[in-house]
Amino acid sequence: MSATGIGASVRRKEDFRFITGQGQYTDDVTRPGETRAVFVRSPHAHAKIRSIDVSAAKKMPGVIDVLTGAQLATDKIGNLICGWMIHSKDGSPMKMAAHPALASGKVNCVGDAVAVVIAETIAQGKDAAEKVKVDYEVLPAVVDPAKAQAKGAPQIHPDIVNNTIYQWHLGEKKDVDAAFAAAKHVTRLDIVNNRLVPNAMEPRAALADYDAGTDNLTLWNTSQNPHVARLVISAFIGMAPEHKLRVIAPDVGGGFGSKIFIYPEEVVCLWASRKVKRPVKWTSDRSEAFLTDAHGRDHVTHAEMALDANGKILALRAKTIANLGAYMSTFSSSVPTYLYATLLSGQYNIPSIYCEVDAVYTNTAPVDAYRGAGRPEATFVVERLVEVAARQMGIDPADLRRRNFITAFPHQTPVIMAYDAGDYNASLKKALEIADVKGFAKRKREAARHGKLRGLGYSTYIEACGIAPSQAVGSLGAGVGLWESAEVRVNPTGSVEVLTGSHAHGQGHETTFAQLVSERLGIPFENVSIVHGDTDKVQFGMGTYGSRSGAVGMSAIVKALDKIEIKAKKVAAFMLEAAEGDIEFKDGKFTVAGTDKSAAFGDVALNAYIAHKFTGAELEPGLKETSFYDPTNFTFPAGCHICELDVDIETGKVDIVNWTAVDDFGTIINPMIVEGQVHGGIAQGVGQALMEGAVYDKNGQLVTGSMMDYTMPRAHDLPSFHVGLTETKAPSNPLGMKGCGEAGAIASPAAVINAITDAIGTENIAMPATASAVWTALQKSQAPKAA
């Protein structure tokens, strides 16, 4: 292993500019004559718009224009769409309501944009926005997904009965019911997977610039997938033909899923820029972010597990209501279906599984993919059920898991997924050692002497990442393919640029991708640049989410590098006057087999461009190759997390004292970056379990609309993590990579809740398990004894 090759913990190239404040984020980009967009947003969760009067606002200083939904419709700007088709049990397609970028006629959640002011400055825009008079007729609202389908619930979209988008199912109900009827033991749980606000550090932003000379539109935006944004804005929204629209997602400060989607604000900025013939910029403030970024999770589930007398799992069934909010966001339909129910087998050999999912509209912000997307919800259901079942049956929770682990691969689950590689016993065993579970009883007694209830919780999770192949996701309803592209450009001096369709917004691609190229071509790490995030540079790409950049994006680079080697060998053959088949490539050197005749990579690159050693008829000049790579399967990262924590008996406060994470991510390019991803993921999962939770009151007002009320995890809330690895290679891609971006967030909530319930001796506690919630639970549980 070289100091900068695969497996080396190389420091991140990109951090210098980020840490020294020299990153170029969308808001840092300025265009001559730039104007600012300020949105007028609904203060009501549900209301009819009787009228909008913009006349006073238009007369305010610095105002260039004030635009409304009516003009948007006149200009035939299309609605935002959800790009994944789900069919209900009865075969009918999902019911998607219109989602105009500016509300017309009706608002359906607080923060819904009803008008936009285009002004010289933000302050002038805000002054004018206050003068826009909107006459609302307030309607009753529904925010709770469990109440959205009730008779008499407020009807949100006119043609969508009972606010129900689809009633989907997966699995064989008959088999499951039979297994339950014959089971020795049944465990039942009611689970709420709490709604989360993503809170990326960089708020969303958009800058649109219309060039009247060329009729071209350029959009800088905070996107995880600029090409998909361009496709949707062009093909569905009809803003401009694809070749007349350039989307640039420069440095992006975190996304966690929330920046995958196409949002109203970027559509409005593009449209407004063409109308006012000046660049239009909008940067969300934190309050707007709370209200309008797509939220995550928000499931209400009843789940049951059937077991035989030996603790062998026979079947699992679940009924989930998923809150999709006021409108269907870009990929919202897929999250509670194919990214959720397909993972309900966990790491276990479960003969039959049946899951029903109703997706509903409510008067809340749209809900879509958020770090883990569906898989944290599935893991939480499975790992809570397993833990509770073990306790009810008096079986050690680790042992019950072991009895049910899948040990032979490939393994076809009853819910679509075919696991191709893994070793679940290995990660459990290693985690038990690192966490010193043997010494737990002693530590628990010691904690009790200090007024603390100590608990231990496991989560042996699995996820499906690198979502692919395209044909498979197409058959499940995806509107797009899920391959990735790479273009490797070798310069005449031998340095390399890689253009990738993946998009980095914190993951460190500029480093890991360069490590791969450095190792493969035997050239210095510094000689490799990674280019991404610009539709004029990268031809097409599917972006970054679902832990796919390694397994899919880097695999595309591998394929392009293979082609580079083939072409370079041809060039070297001419240079070295040898047969192409005799050229060997190793450590950056082309050698004629069995001789000491060789050429360095840089010389070959130069010769490819000066083309003095071959004719055009013999070989095309240049050294540039492209690959579009489509994997053969999802990847299946898996592992075991163990959380050990103390509950303060007097206050209910939870302190995590020990965290063990043993993950199998397949091949690892940069262990330091992987560890960082695991740390961040655990922090987010602990945030969900202990602190975070978006709360709407019954009128649809977001009570947790700022950092003063929405609790984000802080560094001091977390211990130092003990991170370990096991490795089975993913057979579905050439590098054997599985993906690590979401694992922490998927695994950790169940580990925390399993540990808390272990500590306080209750079966269940809702997330977020705040001190006050734990204390309240302690009051109800049978007089807890510390000693």
């Binding site: 206050t651 406060k653 602190m691 009570v703 950092m707 003063m708 001190a771 006050s772 309240t776």
Partner: protein
């Protein structure tokens, strides 16, 4: 933020004069409570009278048997004051528990007290020590100063100049942080100065900071957690929100009072 005029007086007199001439004006201290509400357009002062250049409003001094703190003294400077750490570490711990380093380096004791946020820390210390708030017009006892949520005995145009804390032999503050904001979900300050025993609570009450007379009474026998073992306060009058029920807040008052007493005696 709306437009405003900005003034930088150098004396308390000038500052008072500017306030008199700008009835919709506001004093600006650290700006950590005022500026956020202005940015959100929830406050629209016509003028800001910045106190940062006014002489004689900063510093921590031991004067006889009192510690006198200038109203413009930043939280960090109070927390790190050697004078204070020597005579009353229990008080120094209060600003030490506020916010984060940025907040502590800007926020001031005068601003905190004038603002009287129901979850702020300093009000508990003022009431818990029986401090005197000294303004450009008069001296106000802490018992009379805090009149309810975000409201004080200050009159229009009145400026806090300094706060005088009698030195208590035993005192301590115990704070249970609000999970999101880091303010006090509940904070309890206890002190014993000769026969004067005080237990002051912030964060919990729906009417702002208050004293727990029943605990004070019980502590007269012995200033020790044992003396209030098993005692509680009623949940009525406690705040209720998504973060804590009145019952939980009332329960925390007793727990934190016992812990503060243990700390004060340590």
């Amino acid at each position: 933020m709306y437009n405003f005029t900005f003034h930088r007086p150098t004396t308390v007199r000038q500052a008072a004069g500017l306030l008199a001439r700008n009835p919709d004006g506001k004093l600006l201290a650290g700006g950590h409570s005022l500026l956020p509400v202005m940015k959100q357009r929830l406050a629209q002062p016509s003028a800001l009278v910045d106190l940062s250049l006014v002489e004689g409003m900063t510093g921590v001094e031991l004067k006889g048997r009192s510690v006198v703190i200038g109203a413009m003294t930043r939280h960090a400077d109070v927390a790190n004051s050697q004078v204070l750490k020597d005579v009353m570490p229990g008080l120094a711990a209060v600003p030490g528990s506020i916010g984060d380093p940025q907040v502590r380096n800007r926020g001031t004791i005068g601003g905190s007290i004038a603002n009287n946020d129901p979850n702020a820390d300093y009000p508990a210390a003022c009431l818990g020590l029986g401090a005197t708030i000294i303004t450009n017009k008069r001296r106000i006892a802490a018992d009379d100063f805090f009149t309810g949520m975000f409201s004080t005995a200050l009159e229009e145009g009145e400026i806090i100049v300094k706060i005088s804390f009698p030195v208590a032999k035993k005192c301590a503050y115990e704070k249970f942080k609000h999970p999101a904001s880091g303010f006090a979900l509940v904070g309890v300050f206890v002190s014993k100065r000769g026969p004067d025993i005080r237990v002051a609570v912030t964060g919990a009450g729906s009417n702002g900071v208050f004293r727990v007379k029943s605990f004070e009474e019980a502590l007269k026998k012995r200033f020790s957690p044992k003396s209030i073992e098993g005692m509680s306060i009623p949940a009525t009058g406690m705040n209720a929100d998504i973060h804590a029920s009145p019952e939980y807040r009332a329960h925390l008052v007793a727990v934190l009072a016992r812990r503060a007493l243990a700390k004060a005696n340590a």
